[in-house]
């Protein structure tokens, strides 16, 4: 399979682009694999890639019930940052951010990672204190973080609402310049192509319908494309983790909710960074196509329907024009929802389970895209060694019994 390079681009251009090889194979499932990953989103594909790349395992399948990245990976608003509050989270998200910084080269696939900065706005005294606390915490973690005064925010992003009559005046903000956005589909496709090259079988339209055990050990899976035996199974199905846990006979501290987003008609370049406000509850960036990509909130009810309520979209539109009055005449092109796996402490679960040989990676909720490479990296290690990667250890399932939860409800979070 050919590498993507300027030479190859030229060569294929001369051939009218008719001779590019397939990006990944479409194999039929084999009867048995050493490791089976359930879920072909970014996290599952990254896990398979690092299993093959760093741990030398080549007998791997990724089973996806629909198409690659058709879950939350392809529905998210792609904000990448590492400025969480707790040290445990800092280690995990910063590991991921460092991987993002070299990811296009690593995968030989342009994931269009753009470090355009992520600006969190403070509107109240409480916001100021909380965001400054985050900035200080991040500095002690060795993570870049800056506090901007109101004037500095204005200089950095002048189209924000600084009118004297603003209902939610901007009193400052925290900025992580290394944060930014990436191309969501490219992340799934890039990991898929790189994993395929290392021999991983990527099997789409293959839904896992049951997990098979012998005693307390996993031995295989039933799927819509037949039975598959497996040495180990890693489950990375985001909003469907509760369904898979029920197949294995346990429950998780997670509920699945719709989370919505919307995009506007395309504009000339107007917003060069990512702006978030937890108080008015919206965040927005501008895609390379010119559309504003706008993140909304989650509904309070559980759902697997991949649609949310219109009231959430309406509230988001209110918030958007409060922050950016100049957007008030924009037309919106489309909105959608993904089913996000919200964990009680709003931190992920990367863990062994009560069933031997069965591992779960879930609970990323509204904010796991940014963690895609790091999550795959530590989960691959956890599966191979049958013990958590040191960075993943605080995110084990037993934290809910021990009480050592990692609460990340922080004000830096519209959560994404």
């Amino acid at each position: 399979m050919s590498r993507y390079s300027a030479i190859n681009l030229l060569r294929n251009a001369l051939g009218g682009h008719r001779h590019w090889p397939v990006v990944w194979r479409d194999p039929a499932p084999k009867p048995r694999y050493e490791v089976v990953i359930v879920g072909g989103g970014g996290h599952g594909l990254a896990t398979a890639y690092y299993l093959a790349k760093h741990h030398g395992i080549r007998d791997i399948a990724v089973l996806e019930k629909g198409w690659l990245g058709g879950g939350n990976t392809g529905r998210n608003t792609t904000v990448v940052r590492s400025n969480y509050l707790n040290d445990e989270s800092g280690s995990l998200y910063e590991l991921s951010l460092k991987l993002w910084e070299g990811l296009s080269q690593e995968l030989n696939y342009n994931v269009m990672f753009s470090q355009r900065g992520v600006l969190n706005l403070a509107h109240t005294e409480h916001d100021v204190q909380s965001l400054r606390r985050h900035v200080f915490a991040n500095r002690t973690q060795g993570i870049d973080a800056e506090w901007l005064s109101a004037d500095e925010v204005r200089a950095f992003c002048p189209i924000l609402n600084f009118s004297p009559g603003a209902r939610f005046p901007i009193r400052g903000g925290s900025l992580q310049r290394r944060g930014g956005i990436a191309r969501h589909d490219a992340v799934a496709w890039g990991f898929a192509r790189a994993a395929d090259r290392l021999g991983v079988d990527i099997i789409q339209n293959c839904e896992v319908t049951a997990l098979k055990r012998e005693g307390d050990r996993i031995v295989g899976l039933e799927t819509s494309r037949g039975e598959i035996a497996a040495g180990k199974v890693g489950v990375v199905v985001a909003g469907h983790c509760g369904v898979l846990a029920a197949m294995a006979g346990f429950r998780l501290p997670i509920e699945s909710h719709p989370l919505q987003a919307l995009v506007s008609e395309p504009l000339k370049p107007v917003l060069h960074t990512v702006v978030m406000s937890g108080l008015v509850h919206v965040y927005v960036s501008q895609s390379d196509k010119g559309e504003l990509v706008i993140g909304a909130g989650a509904d309070t009810y559980n759902s697997y329907a991949q649609r949310g309520s219109l009231g959430i979209i309406e509230g988001t539109a209110h918030a958007l024009i409060e922050l950016f009055p100049c957007f008030s005449r924009l037309r919106m092109l489309r909105s959608w929802a993904g089913i996000v796996d919200i964990c009680t402490d709003v931190s992920p679960i990367i863990s062994k389970t009560p069933v031997a040989g069965l591992y779960f990676n879930c609970g990323w909720g509204t904010g796991g895209f940014k963690a895609t490479p790091g999550s795959g990296f530590v989960f691959a290690h956890t599966i191979v060694r049958d013990e958590p990667h040191p960075v993943a250890a605080p995110f084990s399932l037993d934290r809910f019994t021990s009480g050592a939860i990692v609460p990340e409800h922080g004000a830096a979070a519209v959560a994404h």
Binding site: R251, Y301, N302, S303
Partner: protein, 93 residues
């Protein structure tokens, strides 16, 4: 948009309500004797089914009272609404 029949106020649009999570989760008794695992299950573990779900709702922007709903998480269809303390309606299959 859901239409919920508050047992106290009648039919109102969804925007007046908040869903408060799974219903019928009983606090372990006697509390002092419950194990860590029992507490973890009570506080954190949820059934999160794809299908019918017993859940609590509050009429936040109305009477502010709580009630129970049996609703499908797949179609959003509301199967039953009943007051706290009333017996759980049987699942129809």
């Amino acid at each position: 948009m859901l239409l919920l029949h508050c047992p106290y106020c009648g039919p109102r649009w969804e925007q007046e309500f908040q869903c408060r999570g799974e219903a019928h989760i009983a606090r372990p008794e006697p509390a002092a004797e419950a194990s860590d695992a029992t507490w973890a299950a009570y506080l954190y573990l949820r059934s999160n089914p794809k299908g019918l779900h017993y859940e609590r709702w509050q009429h936040t922007h109305g009477c502010r009272r709580w009630f129970n709903v049996l609703r499908s998480t797949l179609t959003h269809e509301i199967v039953a609404i009943y007051r706290p303390g009333e017996p759980k309606p049987e699942l129809k299959r």
